[in-house]
């Protein structure tokens, strides 16, 4: 092969990797729309409301997937994100409730101590409740929500940092470290909520972020209200733009690709490989924190056993379907956004085609394997 034809083959491959997810999404939308047997005007899939709903349901997954894209490009993996949703959400709501209903909590602790059923978090919580009351913050919803949100973000970031430190400085494989995180973070959340739900004590302020949105007056729903573009969706797209800039136009982003492309050469090129790894996992933890906040706000509660459960699978699936190379060294944020949309459209389609929810995992599994298979064909051709 002459150099020219090698070059065109490479270009073809790059184009293929970029375009394949978009084509898949377009096909899916087309198929889904035509599968819907509804009289004109009564169709459901291709309505602004439904599409916004899909985005809404998948924006938390999407936000984490942005971080996971960098992790996978760098040659790593993070399995702990789903459990981290539960842990950071649970700790945040726990903190928030301690401030908003400090008096009631103290009362509750006294009652259970009297009945000999002291909760595990009793002493710490009692101390904190006293602190809150002493500083006249008891019942202050604004303070409670602020501290709660800060806690969620801080816990997510800190857990990501721990993952990164263990991987970079401890030299443990990312798969193992984050598999440990998957088990440990969930377990901590369950312990904190005693296996149940941690319901938020904030009635209006905390749930606003995950439920409200910007009204779009041009689009009116059947009930006469304007369509709301949820803050969650806006956050997803705004973060996607930021992350795309981070990946493509900063030194850090370049080093992430370099690290995934050839770690040894990165070290020999005077790149601080450990630091890049730590930043990458910390960033993913922070994004998971943001997603955890939005999920907790949306439900105004953190169900410790189900919050974020199996999110890691959807997140990794979205990244891979979006064309990011599982071995690292190549990938794009744009592809990941498309990957999230593909997953969203598929699950939406399955549910209104009345496919049993038990079978939805099968379809997802087939799509993931097919996406990788198609990627490999594209690679072999070139």
């Amino acid at each position: 092969m002459s150099e020219g034809s090698v070059q065109s083959a490479r270009n073809w491959r790059a184009v293929f990797e970029r375009v394949a997810p978009v084509v898949t999404l377009a096909l899916l939308v087309f198929v889904t729309a035509s599968l819907e047997h509804a009289p004109a005007g009564e169709h459901h899939f291709l309505t602004a409301e439904n599409l916004v709903n899909i985005l809404w349901q998948w924006s938390a997954i999407g936000i984490i997937a942005l971080g996971m894209t960098l992790v996978i490009i760098s040659g790593g993996i993070d399995l702990s994100v789903g459990s981290l949703i539960a842990l950071s959400g649970a700790l945040g709501v726990w903190m928030m409730n301690t401030i908003i209903s400090a008096g009631a909590i103290l009362q509750g602790i006294d009652d259970s101590n009297a009945s000999g059923m002291a909760p595990a978090d009793g002493p710490v919580r009692a101390w904190m409740a006293h602190f809150v009351i002493n500083h006249h913050l008891d019942g202050n919803e604004v303070w409670g929500v602020a501290v709660g949100i800060a806690t969620i973000l801080a816990v997510g970031t800190a857990a990501g940092w721990v993952n990164g430190m263990l991987i970079a400085k401890g030299g443990i494989a990312p798969f193992i470290v984050t598999l440990g995180g998957l088990a440990a973070y969930r377990s901590l959340a369950l312990a904190l909520a005693d296996g149940g739900d941690l319901n938020s004590a904030s009635e209006h302020l905390f749930p606003a972020a995950g439920n409200a949105g910007v009204p779009i007056h041009r689009l009116t729903l059947t009930n006469g209200h304007p369509l709301q573009l949820p803050y969650m969706v806006i956050a997803f797209f705004a973060l996607a733009v930021l992350m795309a800039i981070l990946l493509n136009r900063t030194r850090y982003g370049r080093y992430v690709v370099a690290l995934g492309s050839n770690e040894r050469a990165a070290k020999y090129s005077a790149i601080n490989v450990d630091r890049i790894k730590i930043i990458t996992y910390t960033l993913t933890g922070a994004l998971t924190g943001i997603a955890a906040f939005l999920v907790a706000s949306n439900l105004n509660s953190v169900p410790s056993s189900t919050a974020g459960n199996l999110y890691e699978l959807d997140v990794i699936a979205a990244v891979v379907i979006g064309g990011t190379r599982m071995q690292g060294g190549a990938g794009s944020i744009f592809g990941t956004v498309i990957g999230v949309l593909i997953l969203g459209v598929i699950s939406n389609m399955l549910s209104f085609l009345n496919v049993s929810p038990y079978l939805q995992g099968l379809v997802k599994g087939v799509i993931i394997v097919a996406a990788i298979f198609v990627q490999q064909i594209g690679r072999k051709r070139s």
């Binding site: 070059q7 030194r251 690709v257 050839n262 050469a265 990165a266 601080n272 060294g329």
Partner: protein, 500 residues
């Protein structure tokens, strides 16, 4: 055994790797009951030839004959079936398996589908006894020392009952006692009619046990020595045959005014190495593979963490504990293996060129246009042949890849440039391009350390030559008065230490 066909013979074997001609028309015959030594410089083609005999590589041209019959050695198993056993330079043992399992790996005798471990252990024990290496054959290989592993490798070859045994640098890691035991075994094999092919850099050993010796140089056979020619031959004479080629390379003329001492390294590392490089000077490092040249360069570049000793640049003491420190101090290191540690093969020419100096092309965000401008500057300066700046470097030829790797370091405007095997796997045109460039930079006042296993390169480019052996600098020679023979004598340990 007159008139018996050769145990194994090659006829006009050729092999190319990309632009590099590794073997060219190699015809050698190995007789049963003889020990046949093969010597030559690094890269002379010895290992490639043995890989072809062992089925690891396929020959590009030519034929292999076993006992007079032409054969096609398709893979390692085919070689084993034909009775060729190879003891590799690199250890090829499975750490988690026992000694006996390793010795019979891939050739397990089974009874009704079950491996006969008892038999494997018994036979392994016998072979190790012959080798005077009484190890517990049930031990996992990971418990063994490097020397012991080497003995297991040899036992593995013996267990095949091969008619041809290839030993590639077998004694490099053995103690004197083990070496002696190995020589006795070789003697025994020879008496049993086995053809032993013995490759070693330790010329003394080769002279001691050989029946005949073939000298290789630049992928060709340069001398054949039978028992008669070898009578009374000295190590120095053999070393002379290995080198002593006419200079076939054009090196740019030295025209530098050499300045004051610039980089000074004192009492560095465990081996307490000291040397200096002056402004405008190229200091060549010669030595055999494993002499510690790359290790020294990597330590100076901070790849081995903190190392004891002093590094001074332009009179100032440097604290180097990471490559980042070294780069900030103005040291650049072109590593010896561009694919493993030099380039991001899937990233494009531009990204690779600015990999180390990216900070200069970043304000808040990277500036792609400035980056491309820098990359195209080097493409023109070094005449790098590419189709586009966005081309992944994987698609480039070896020479052009090496130019990109070098451009990456020149981009950092280094004060000291360390180049490790800068022209390995590079065609002649690109070689001269690289030489010209290094020489031009040195003329501008840079100091350069040139590590190379190609003697004529070291001699042609350097102003002074440091010869390393066993992790130490054993000689510091003035390039004007040095010869390949002299360098080789120090490198192979014929001449004892001499410091300038």
């Amino acid at each position: 055994m007159p008139d018996q066909p050769d145990a194994i013979a090659t006829d006009a074997i050729g092999k190319s790797f990309g632009a590099t001609r590794a073997l060219d028309g190699v015809t050698i015959s190995f007789r049963g009951g003889e020990v046949h030594g093969i010597v030559g410089e690094n890269g002379a083609g010895k290992s490639t030839l043995m890989k072809i005999l062992g089925g690891v590589e396929r020959p590009g041209e030519g034929r292999v004959f076993i006992r007079g019959r032409g054969v096609l050695i398709t893979d390692v198993h085919a070689a084993q079936r034909m009775g060729i056993a190879m003891v590799h330079q690199e250890l090829n043992l499975v750490d988690e398996l026992s000694i006996a399992e390793n010795i019979f790996l891939g050739r397990e005798r089974t009874l009704l589908g079950m491996v006969r471990f008892g038999r494997a252990r018994r036979v392994s024990r016998q072979i190790l006894e012959i080798l005077k290496c009484p190890l517990n054959v049930s031990w996992k290989v990971k418990r063994l020392s490097t020397a012991q592993k080497q003995m297991v490798e040899i036992a593995k070859a013996l267990s095949c009952q091969a008619s041809v045994i290839i030993l590639d640098e077998p004694t490099a890691m053995l103690s004197r006692r083990e070496t002696h035991a190995l020589f006795e075994v070789i003697g025994q094999l020879r008496r049993n009619g086995v053809a032993v092919i013995y490759i070693s850099h330790i010329l003394q050993e080769v002279l001691q046990i050989r029946d005949r010796v073939t000298v290789m140089r630049d992928g060709r056979v340069s001398a054949r020595l039978g028992p008669d020619e070898m009578e009374g031959m000295t190590v120095a004479e053999l070393a002379g045959l290995m080198v002593g080629r006419p200079m076939n390379q054009h090196f740019p003329a030295r025209e530098t005014r050499i300045g004051e001492r610039f980089l000074e390294v004192e009492h560095f590392g465990d081996e307490d190495i000291s040397f200096f490089v002056r402004r405008g000077e190229i200091l060549g490092f010669a030595g055999l593979i494993g002499a510690g040249r790359t290790e020294l360069a990597e330590a100076i570049f901070g790849l081995r963490g903190k190392v004891s000793g002093v590094i001074r640049l332009d009179g100032r003491n440097l604290k180097i504990s990471s490559p980042g420190d070294a780069v900030r101090a103005g040291i650049a290191y072109l590593s010896e293996d561009r694919k493993e540690s030099g380039l991001m093969l899937d990233m494009d020419v531009t990204s690779n060129t600015t990999m180390v100096s990216l900070a200069r092309y970043t304000r808040w965000l990277t500036r792609p246009r400035a980056e491309r401008k820098a990359a195209s500057h080097y493409v023109q300066l070094m005449r790098i042949r590419i189709a586009s700046l966005r081309q992944p470097v994987r698609a480039l030829s070896g020479g052009n890849q090496q130019k990109v790797a070098l451009a990456k370091w020149l981009e950092t405007n280094p004060k000291v440039l360390i180049v490790d095997e800068p022209t390995r796997g590079v065609d002649v045109g690109a070689k001269e391009e690289i030489y010209r460039l290094i020489r031009a930079l040195v003329t501008q006042g840079m100091a350069c350390i040139l590590i190379s296993s190609e003697l004529n390169e070291v001699l042609g480019m350097s102003d002074r030559i440091a010869v390393m052996r066993g992790g130490r600098i054993v000689a510091m020679l003035d390039a004007a008065s040095a010869s390949e023979e002299r360098v080789m004598q120090f490198a192979a340990g014929v001449q004892e230490n001499l410091s300038a």
